[in-house]
């Protein structure tokens, strides 16, 4: 899926406030985002900082988003449990799934988190979707419905090759 199509899907659902840390899984989408005047993006220094920033959008009547790589999931476990889930503050996590499928895919530093990423969200009872390129809109709508129904964070796990 090209970057413009990806962002058209997100923007049409009023998702325009993002913070994050880049990932090579969606390099073109990242470049598109920072150049699109309709998207406000804050280049956070860490994933937990991005979560704090993006969560503020909920208090202004919007849903904010975090762009990140799955290696940063560990950095957001504390704020997810003692902020997002405790106060019930929804946020969308858009996560590049490095190490998908486990070894020998990707580099060694991604092997363990590549396998464990969905298990961490299962453990925390945080909903997630793993979209195919031609079904992003459906997956996102299912996820947004769950996010709003339960007032919790939700994650889009983006495998390599799904978004440019």
């Amino acid at each position: 899926m090209d970057a413009k199509t990806f962002w058209d899907v997100l923007k049409s659902r009023d998702l325009t406030f993002f913070a994050g840390v880049p990932d090579s899984t969606f390099q073109q989408a990242y470049r598109y985002m920072v150049e699109d005047p309709e998207i406000r993006y804050v280049p956070a220094v860490r994933e937990d900082v991005a979560l704090g920033l993006a969560s503020a959008a909920y208090f202004a009547g919007k849903l904010g988003g975090v762009m990140m790589q799955n290696s940063g999931i560990g950095n957001i476990v504390n704020p997810l449990t003692s902020f997002s889930l405790m106060y019930k503050v929804p946020v969308l996590l858009v996560i590049g799934w490095r190490g998908y499928g486990g070894p020998p895919n990707d580099a060694p530093e991604h092997w363990i988190m590549g396998v464990k990423s969905p298990e961490i969200f299962d453990l925390l009872d945080i909903p997630y979707e793993v979209p195919e390129a031609d079904q992003l809109a459906d997956a996102l709508d299912r996820l947004l419905a769950e996010i709003h129904k339960r007032s919790v964070p939700g994650a889009l796990l983006i495998r390599p090759g799904v978004v440019d």
Binding site: V49, A56, A60, G61, T81, F83, V89
Partner: protein, 190 residues
């Protein structure tokens, strides 16, 4: 040195009705809660280190409101990377307080490294527009008065003493109620 609860009383005395006040986990939220509870206060009772990025997000989303971020030196040190991020985003409406008692007082007074690192100098280097370092109540009053009419981001470092006050209650409002009434206090919704 200023007693922390006196510093909090002084800061809260300068809060206007439309201002948002965010306080970090531990004794600071308990003292803000017991001194002046109001719907526009957000008590972040967990997630140490998250307060400043949440405050930055609010300052960007609601630029017409002043956002007071009140945290300790331990909390600021935990998320030190947020200082240059705040400076680079230039939210003119953000007022960042670090109540610096050089210790993790809420967990028993263990020392932090801020006795050796001047966090006001760190904020200056990062590029905060206004930086004040105060160590008495008159200095704090002067720094608070000086906020008016000047564009932020502001950093006010308050050198505070270790003066634990017995019997300060925990925040008794349920988290989702803190969320809902604070959300109602955030203006400028799209």
């Amino acid at each position: 040195m200023i007693d922390r609860y006196k510093a909090i009383e002084k800061i809260l005395a300068h809060v206007q009705p439309a201002d948002l006040v965010l306080s970090t986990t531990g004794m600071i939220s308990r003292e803000v809660f017991s001194t002046s509870d109001r719907p526009g206060n957000f008590y972040m009772i967990g997630s140490m280190g998250l307060l400043s990025s949440f405050g930055l997000g609010l300052a960007l989303m609601s630029p017409e409101q002043r956002v007071f971020v009140v945290e300790g030196d331990g909390s600021a040190l935990m998320s030190l990377g947020t200082l240059p991020l705040i400076a680079s985003e230039e939210p003119t409406n953000l007022v960042h307080f670090i109540l610096d008692n050089e210790s993790y007082e809420s967990t028993g007074g263990q020392p932090t490294i801020s006795s050796k690192v001047d966090l006001a100098e760190v904020a200056k280097s990062c590029g905060y527009r206004q930086v004040a370092r105060v160590d008495d109540i008159e200095g704090l009053e002067g720094a608070l008065v000086a906020i008016d009419g000047k564009a932020g981001p502001h950093l006010i470092l308050v050198k505070a003493g270790i003066a634990p006050v017995e019997g300060i209650p925990r925040v008794t409002i349920p988290p989702t109620e803190i969320r809902d009434r604070f959300r109602s206090s955030v203006q400028q919704r799209d």
